[in-house]
Amino acid sequence: MNCILETKGLCKSFGAVTAAKDVNVRIHKGEVVGVIGSNGAGKTTFINMVTGYLKPSSGEILFNGQSILGRTPRAITRAGMARSFQVAQLFPQLSVLENLLIAVSAAQSPFPSLLAPMRNASRIAQADAILAEFDISRWRDTQVTAVPQGVRKLIDIAMALIGDPQMLLLDEPTSGVSAEEKTALMDTVMRVVAQHQVTVLFVEHDMDVVRRYVSRILAFYSGEVLADGAPEAVLANARVQEFVTGGPHAHKRAAQ
């Protein structure tokens, strides 16, 4: 039994809008799962519920077999499930190194020390190591506001990885990055993630990017899981083509 994340009958509605309708998903250890779906299909809502940011209207979420329903995002992070964000969530006025040092310090203890300096040799070594892994060491002492978008996305993911999570949820890791940079960025991310042996679930709109890295696809449409399985099978699915990827059927619909 190597199921790391399981959701049972997850539902969420915002007023009249249904963002999740009976979502049943089982993610296994070591999988790389791509989540696809048009805007408003419920992908981010799914991540927000699983990481404790949103409370589901009903349903159950199990992480390593234990319910994490109703736990705070920080408790879920400490339990080993980290996430990155569609828009990189960093500390803009601080340097890249300081951003990572804060992440290292937070990962070490929920009660930060009052007088011992945050900058110490072991924390700096850990921060430098992850910067080197992502190949962004040259930005180390730059203030985040002066760092390009693609690098910010990497810092965001690096901060999530610092706590050595078992599972990593990436919400559109390539959004806001130019088309030419996407592949290089994802190559970097997936290389590092593979080294850390983390189970990954990532949301992505670019089907070429998805096909390149995943072992399994979850297709969302209007809060429901439309298809779940091997990439070829899901992408060949007629309903997925119609509602998500915009295959031949979609064009027919649009013409009508």
Partner: protein, 314 residues
């Protein structure tokens, strides 16, 4: 305890300042004592500013510190300075531990207004308490220290030396705090609270700790103020007093632990001369001073030392 270069400079300046007290005229010693007491309260304001919170009610803890000292002398006949100050800080810490549970739920203008509200509640209560002298307040008894009673005329200078020593110790501690994990976490919360939460840290816990620590520091200032002025009144909790602390905090900036001390001293000097120059509209001079600071040195006086002002304008 190994001291960094900054800490050695802070201690060096303190020694010089204390030595200067022996040759300075009495009015200057008094002015500096009051300025340092206020600077301690301002440190509490700055600690919260670093976490992105502006408090318009730090006068609450200033007043609690002052009244705890005054009342302990008045009702319990305690005269030992160290004990009195500890009681003042302790009272503020207890109050902050309680209020902090509520305060840490709020941010921005809501935090500012709620902090203001609590200080005004205390003001209202004190104004109505005839046993505590209502609006007039009451006089604070003369202090002793570990059995030593300063001879008449000696007390102001002795208190000055003590407050300089306490300020130096406080500066070293706050300098360390600002660079510690907790201190940096405050900056992180100011920058992006959601991210802090997703790093596995509780922003509320960090803010709570910071709030209680800021209250303790401010109450120490209030205690010293009571001992040095020899009198306390409800004005200490009034919103204009709290506003003055924010004013001084902006004057100095949040970049360095020394900034509030320098700003508080400068403020006291400017105010003294402004009152002499234009007795009825001295606030106008203070207003223009703040205006000039905001326009030319948005990061406070401390940017004069770091050259950030020039870079910011370039």
């Amino acid at each position: 305890m190994r001291l960094s270069k900054t800490e050695l400079i802070l201690l060096g300046v303190a020694v010089l300042l204390a030595a200067g007290g022996f040759i300075a005229p009495q009015w200057l010693v008094f002015l500096l004592t009051m300025a340092l007491a206020k600077a301690m309260v301002v440190q509490g304001v700055v600690m919260q500013m670093r976490a992105g919170l502006v408090t318009f009610g730090q006068g609450l803890f200033f007043c609690v510190g002052g009244y705890a000292v005054g009342m302990s002398g008045h009702f319990l006949d305690i005269t030992d300075l160290a004990v009195l100050l500890l009681i003042g800080v302790g009272a503020a810490v207890l109050l902050a531990m309680l209020l902090g549970l509520l305060m840490t739920r709020y941010r921005e203008i809501f935090f500012a207004m709620l902090s203001l509200a609590f200080s005004m509640i205390l003001y209202g209560v004190l104004v109505k308490s005839s046993a505590l002298g209502s609006t007039d307040g009451f006089n604070v008894k003369a202090w002793t220290l570990f059995g030593w009673t300063p001879a008449s005329g000696q007390a102001p200078l002795a208190l000055f030396v003590i407050i300089v020593a306490c300020s130096a110790l406080l500066a070293v501690l706050l300098h360390r705090y600002s660079r510690s994990s907790a201190g940096m976490m405050c900056e992180a919360i100011r920058e992006n609270e959601v991210r802090v939460e997703y790093l596995g840290q509780s922003p509320r816990w960090v803010l709570y700790m910071n709030y209680v620590a800021a209250a303790a520091v401010s109450a120490l200032g209030g205690g010293f103020m009571a001992l040095s002025a020899g009198h306390i009144d409800p004005e200490m909790a009034y919103w204009i007093t709290s506003g003055e602390f924010v004013f001084i905090a902006l004057l100095g900036g949040t970049a360095h632990v020394a900034a509030p001390f320098i700003a508080a001293i400068l403020f006291a000097v400017v105010r003294t001369y402004a009152i002499e120059l234009v007795p009825h509209s001295w606030q106008m001079i203070l207003g223009f001073t703040l205006l000039a600071i905001i326009v030319f040195l948005p990061k406070g006086l401390w940017s004069l030392f770091t050259g950030q002002a020039r870079r910011a304008k370039a």
